[in-house]
């Protein structure tokens, strides 16, 4: 019976009177009775906030969160440090309860924060133009392919199977609408085998760096391949790696797409996350989503405003570069704040500490009999191992010891996949972040020993 309304019964009556109506019902009088609910919707009656909170506390207790399971799961969602200061700034209600900055005069807060976010994404990707966010990494890739199709007038998408299985799945789904032909390139020992496919022209060549198995792909080869096919070179990147690895721009990519959760957003059971998107200068007019630009107000003061709006759906309609409207602004602002908190050295620290932990764990696991690295290729902070038994069973067993061991690759691929030779069900994907301690790594190894004994 709870709600958030202000109107007293008296006020409702006087407003109705002003409208010459006798009841709230009459407001709907012009709606054909046939389509109106006779007896209200089949929902339980309302309950007070504290009563509903009790139900949600039950949901919460029925989960094993990162607090109660030491998290070694990654696959695009990472347990990074998110300090109280970032949480408190990002939860300021002016950011949280505003909407798209249609009126720049009263939206300089969001606009400037987005300008700063765009600058960060541009620097991390090594590309000059970044947009103001997309839904997540997977849909950002789809937008990248649509841009490539528009730029090249072609429809064949060559995608390394080192791209996250969920991203590839999303690409396949949306290709049903765009009619794009999606060609997935297998991996051999963790590296994309470009020779395995024969295509002679393409709109885009997509590679993930590092790829979803954590492996550092041979980017020069991929770039080469893109050039041969006259395709745009689209790189899906782990933005955390940007602190240490070469950028998309340095590898010659035309488009960078990435998942930005790592920058200040909680694991959140998968969303809301943040789709990172950056492109080379020449593609700016094909950019999907919003972009904020700097300008002046009538008094000559610096001001920010969403610009190049002519690309967008509300103006260009069926010819728009994308249909995106509501995006993930709050996560973009959060990322800007988190990156400001990290600073230049902090960002590098996250990359290096994660890598040190990942390599330490990989070395330790190599000594566990029955466990072996899936591939020999170099990796940064995530790697795959082949186990003597099903990965999902091992994960369940290790959870008993308070460890979320990682992700079963088959739970991502849903079965066999060109990214892994043979049976995927025994392949486990393991990620380490800067938050993992030596003691936790030790606990992991012991739990693994038990699980595969």
């Amino acid at each position: 019976m709870a709600d958030y309304l202000a109107h007293t019964p008296d006020e409702v009556s006087s407003m109705l009177a002003f409208l010459g109506l006798a009841s709230l019902d009459e407001l709907f009088a012009h709606i054909p009775a046939a389509v109106r609910l006779a007896s209200g919707s089949a929902l339980p009656a309302g309950r007070s906030e504290p009563d509903v909170a009790a139900t949600f506390a039950r949901y919460s207790l029925a989960n094993r969160a990162a607090g109660s399971l030491v998290c070694f799961a990654g696959g695009g969602a990472y347990d990074h440090e998110v300090p109280a200061v970032v949480r408190s700034l990002a939860s300021r209600s002016e950011f949280v309860t505003a909407y798209t900055p249609y009126q720049p005069e009263v939206a300089q807060g969001v606009l400037q924060a987005l300008f700063e976010y765009q600058t960060m994404v541009s620097r991390l990707s090594g590309l000059p133009i970044a947009n103001a966010s997309l839904y997540d990494g997977a849909t950002a890739l789809v937008e990248g392919l649509n841009l490539a199709a528009a730029a090249t007038g072609r429809s064949t998408m060559v995608i390394s199977s080192g791209v996250h299985p969920h991203w590839r799945a999303v690409v396949r789904t949306f290709a049903r609408g765009t009619g794009h032909r999606v060609v997935e390139v297998p991996l051999v020992d963790g590296l994309t085998d470009w020779s395995a496919i024969d295509v002679d022209e393409a709109a885009a060549v997509v590679v993930s760096y590092p790829n979803y198995l954590g492996v550092l792909e041979a980017m020069d080869v991929a770039a080469e391949r893109a050039k041969d096919l006259g395709a745009l070179f689209v790189m899906g990147g782990d933005p955390v790696a940007a602190g240490v690895l070469r950028t998309a721009g340095q590898w010659g990519a035309d488009v960078f797409v990435g998942e930005g959760q790592a920058f200040g957003t909680a694991l959140s059971f998968g969303g809301p996350y943040l789709g990172l998107f950056a492109v080379a200068r020449e593609h700016v007019r094909r950019l999907p989503g919003r972009i904020v630009g700097e300008t002046l107000d009538t008094n000559g003061r610096r001001a920010f405003v969403t610009t190049l709006r002519a690309r967008e759906q509300d103006i260009r309609r069926e010819k728009a570069t994308s249909n995106v409207c509501t995006n993930q602004t709050l996560m973009a602002i959060t990322a800007a704040i988190q990156l400001g908190w990290l600073g230049t050295d902090g960002l590098r620290h996250v990359g290096m500490a994660s890598a040190s932990g990942a390599h330490a764990l990989a070395d330790a696991l190599a000594d566990v009999s029955g466990v072996q690295l899936l591939c020999a290729a170099p990796f940064l902070r995530e790697f795959a191992v082949r186990l003597p038994r099903r990965a999902d069973e091992v994960i369940a067993a290790m959870a008993e010891d308070g460890v979320l061991a990682g992700l079963a690759v088959s739970s991502l691929t849903g079965g066999d996949d060109p990214s892994v030779a043979g049976d995927t069900s025994r392949v486990l994907l393991v990620a380490v972040t800067e938050r993992r301690t030596a003691e936790e790594l030790h606990r992991y190894v012991e739990a693994m020993r038990k699980a595969v004994r």
Partner: protein, 503 residues
């Protein structure tokens, strides 16, 4: 001083103390500063070169921004003082349903037991999340009169495209190849954009002089090659499509499907169900009807509910009851994933919290009061800003500034800008496109009668100024941190990053 960096402790950029510009994070940055503090892990740091072959390493250091925590806090706190929001005042932005967002739902979403769960956690260890998702799906189906739903779409537009792919999958399954999707000329821009991405051609039907779909024009446009129609009901002029059942019949007769754009669901939630109007596919904007905060432009959530015949095509995997447990299940003929994981989960949790607090009765009150407020405002402003269509509206009213323009050269934009000087956010302007000088007011149910009256008087006073001093309206707003901005300049010489700026 050593560096030419901007001071992080000067507050002249906050309207509280002036109207100067706020430096950017980069102007505040001084290399060598830092705010980050990390866990002591006890793990031996390894030289990068020992882990990663040289050709992968970035020869340069990417400099982001280096601030002390104090300056980081000062900067972003000041930015919030340059930002209007629902929590500061009325935000009658038409079509966006800027209602009050209960803090209670934020607290729910902040629970580490929900926010701290990795999306790849096995179902057995995330039963609470799965039950939450299943419960929300049940609620949304009950509210729309549909059989099943996907919670994956991250926003309304994503829901639209998902819905169109479901439409395609349905026709494909029946071996039918249809090319066209019909939308009214009053449709929101995301509709045609989604149709294109769905691989269909857009056929636009004009609205009649009552602001509704012209049934004859529609019938004329219909044919065996029509995959379906996308409608918003109430439509974007805030009017209920009274002939909806005839429309439904006409479309179904040619084998087409009806898509319901749920952006305006707030007008009828708990009162009318899209399913009962004959719709086959329905997307909802949880960030509108169900009060999840808009986050400055997002995140949102755009679940899609469908009738039984389309259920097998829904994206997957979906959380579902399996015996007395919950598990991930993929529908038989699923179109596949439309999101990297399970959708904007924490937004979904907020929406469910809102739904559970209201229940059937509360949500019906929401619709009733949203419609009451909009009609009161429409009537109250009739003399100054006549409604585009002079009839009872639903949750929003589209008014027109044509009179002011003709008489004094004052445009909808001027009224919108001037309203900000009066302490209100502007309504949506120049949408829908079929209305000249459109001002689309959506007060929402959470604004009080006193607030509506103040808003109305503000518009009145603006109208008076239009007569006496129109120039002052072209110059509005003046009491804001920045005055009107030069949008043309922004587009002409694009400066989209600090590095493109000449500092």
């Amino acid at each position: 001083m050593m560096t030419s960096a901007q001071p992080g402790g000067r507050a002249a950029s906050i309207p509280l103390m002036g109207h100067e510009v706020e430096p950017t994070m980069f102007e505040l940055s001084v290399r060598g500063r830092s705010a980050a503090q990390f866990r002591t892990t006890g793990i031996e740091p390894r030289p990068l070169s020992s882990m990663v072959p040289a050709q992968h390493l970035n020869p340069e250091t990417i400099v982001t921004a280096d601030l002390a925590e104090r300056d980081l806090v000062g900067h972003f706190t000041r930015l919030t003082h340059r930002q209007f929001s629902v929590d500061l005042g009325a935000y009658p932005l038409g079509s966006c349903t800027m209602k009050y967002n209960p803090k209670f739902a934020d607290a729910i979403a902040g629970d580490p037991g929900l926010a701290g769960v990795h999306p790849g956690t096995p179902a057995a260890l995330a039963q609470g999340w799965l039950e939450l998702l299943v419960t929300l799906e049940e609620r949304l189906c009950a509210l729309t009169g549909m059989a099943a739903a996907t919670l994956q779409p991250a926003a309304g537009a994503a829901g639209e495209l998902t819905g169109l792919l479901l439409m395609r999958a349905y026709h494909d399954a029946r071996g039918e190849d249809r090319q066209r999707v019909i939308i009214p000329d009053s449709a929101h821009g995301t509709n045609p954009a989604s149709v294109t991405l769905g691989g269909y051609d857009v056929t636009t039907v004009a609205s009649n002089d009552r602001g509704l779909v012209d049934l004859d024009a529609l019938r004329a446009a219909l044919g065996p090659d029509v995959a379906g129609i996308m409608l918003t009901n109430p439509n974007t002029v805030g009017l209920f499509e009274e002939q909806i059942t005839d429309i439904a019949t006409a479309v179904h007769d040619v084998g087409g499907l009806l898509y319901y754009d749920g952006a305006n669901l707030n007008a009828i939630v708990g009162v009318v169900r899209p399913g009962d109007m004959g719709f086959d596919i329905v997307h909802m904007n949880l960030h509108k009807t169900f009060a999840t905060p808009h986050g400055g432009g997002g995140p949102g959530a755009g679940p899609v509910a469908v009738s039984a015949r389309l259920a097998d095509f829904l994206p997957g995997p979906k959380a579902a009851r399996v015996g007395d447990r919950f598990d991930w299940v993929t529908p038989a003929s699923s179109i596949g994933r439309v999101h990297g994981w399970h959708g904007n989960a924490l937004v979904l949790a907020r929406a469910l919290a809102y739904i559970e607090v209201h229940g059937a009765d509360g949500l019906e009150r929401v619709a009733q009061h949203a419609v009451l407020n909009a009609n009161w405002l429409r009537r109250r402003l009739a003399a100054i800003l006549p409604a585009a269509y002079d009839r009872p509206c639903m949750h929003e009213c589209v008014l027109s500034a044509t009179k002011l323009k003709a008489a004094y050269g004052v445009r909808a934009l001027d009224v919108a800008k001037a309203l900000m000087d009066e302490g209100f956010h502007a309504p949506t302007v120049y949408f829908p496109l079929i209305v000249d000088e459109a001002l689309m007011f959506e007060p929402t149910e959470t604004e009080s009668p006193q607030t509506l009256e103040a808003l109305a008087s503000a518009v009145e006073s603006i109208a008076e100024r239009a007569a006496t001093d129109p120039q002052s309206l072209h110059a509005a707003p003046q009491h804001t941190p920045v005055s009107r901005v030069d949008e043309a300049r922004a587009a002409r010489q694009l400066v989209a990053t600090e590095d493109a700026a000449s500092r």
